[in-house]
Point group: C2
DNA sequence: TAATAAGTTGACACTTTGGTCAGGTTTTGA
DNA sequence: TCAAAACCTGACCAAAGTGTCAACTTATTA
């Protein structure tokens, strides 16, 4: 089974002539992400993924041994961007700015990556069966780190006492909702498609409500 | 096709001898709810639903013409309990009590009905394709009604200004999260299964945060 | 440039699964 | 009591879907 990447080094600094293997795998994963997101694991058809990636089905099986292997690869890929928005929750910032930025970043991310967001949500609802131990551990570690930041802010009197873990759950759920449950959000907001303004108002509402609830009296800006 | 319910009236006031048709349909829908929730529409197998409801597959098809018909029936059933918690948001209550009760009721409902909750979430993520026009209209109507209540509270100076629709989205997402995304919640809370205490702290955190953020200064109880 | 590795692909094997059906049994109602 | 309606079910089918394979072409490298 000649499925290992060749050991040949890159000839060019630029990736102008991307290697066949890399390109095909990338195309397959891209198509798979889209289709798994729309149809779920069971609903997705390999033939459809193949067509969407411009390859015959047998060629897809040349790179991946099974449907499950493709799915795992896709999921693993998703996790990579999971904690980007979390970077805003950093000890050296003022909680007000940090939380506001986090909410804005998370909403913006889910808006720009609806497909990935839904796929992730779907995987979790199904019991996170294909999320590797390593990935889950990573998520836990990052969360713990940020919990610590919140706790320090509380200890420093910069935030009213709150359970940081439940706080993160609140923020996570609120910011995911618009992308993951778009039909419900649309119904609630009397629109047929979420627009830029809807996301702005969402960010504003979440930020204001949460911050007014967490900042000591007299510390609300803007 | 003798698939209409018989016109015969109930002989007994009590439903002791439940009619065959009613019982079987109930069993099928019960099993189907469970299995659709765990596996999704495509992942669910009619044979499995049949087995779980104690009927041979062909018998399931005696009552339902297709998989889709079963699924639709299940979804329609779900909607029935959708607005129960919303009853707490009523104009004649104080916003503080009303919102607190709503959060508690919603959390309690999702906890007691995890299966239904996940199935519903799943259906929405997939684009709410099988939610009937009527059901969506119903949800919109109920929401509008409650939006009005919030607006009146704001007008009466009992709540700080907030977009009621986005507020509902916040509450809805936060209260759904624990049941729908249990694996994530467990990771975040460092536990393997959500316990009663976790739900209490969740209710407390959501209520306190939101209420402190919405009530005019000096109106927080507890 | 020749030999080996990597990539390609149509056709096919095999399994699963939604759905059907003919002929059976039980229930109902007059 | 008996005919009609309702209910039941094993056996079957066609379609769809995953995964395989042998033969082929293209790329690499010594």
């Amino acid at each position: 089974m000649p499925k290992q990447p060749s050991t040949k080094a890159l000839k060019n600094a630029g990736e102008i002539d991307e290697k066949i293997r890399a390109r095909n795998i990338r195309e397959i994963l891209k198509a798979a992400t889209e289709i798994f997101s729309r149809k779920g694991f069971d609903g997705a058809r390999i033939a459809e993924i193949a067509e969407a990636s411009g390859l015959p089905k047998a060629n897809v099986y040349y790179y991946f041994a099974s449907k499950e292997e493709i799915y795992r690869a896709v999921i693993e890929h998703l996790i990579e961007g999971w904690d980007d928005a979390f970077a805003h929750i950093s000890a050296d910032r003022e909680p007000q700015d940090a939380i506001r930025s986090y909410i804005a970043a998370k909403l913006s991310y889910t808006r720009r990556n609806v497909i990935e967001s839904r796929l992730f949500a779907n995987e979790i609802i199904r019991g996170a069966q294909f999320l590797s131990r390593k990935d889950r551990q990573h998520m836990r570690t990052v969360t713990d780190e940020k919990v610590k930041v919140i706790e320090d802010w509380i200890a420093a009197g910069k935030l009213l006492p709150v359970d940081p873990r439940h706080l993160f759950i609140m923020l996570w759920s609120a910011t995911q909702f618009y992308a993951d449950f778009e039909p419900l959000a649309c119904d609630a907001l009397h629109t047929t498609k979420l627009k830029s303004l809807d996301y702005s108002v969402a960010a504003e509402t979440i930020s204001e409500t949460v911050l007014r609830g967490l900042l000591p009296v007299g510390q609300m800006g803007g």
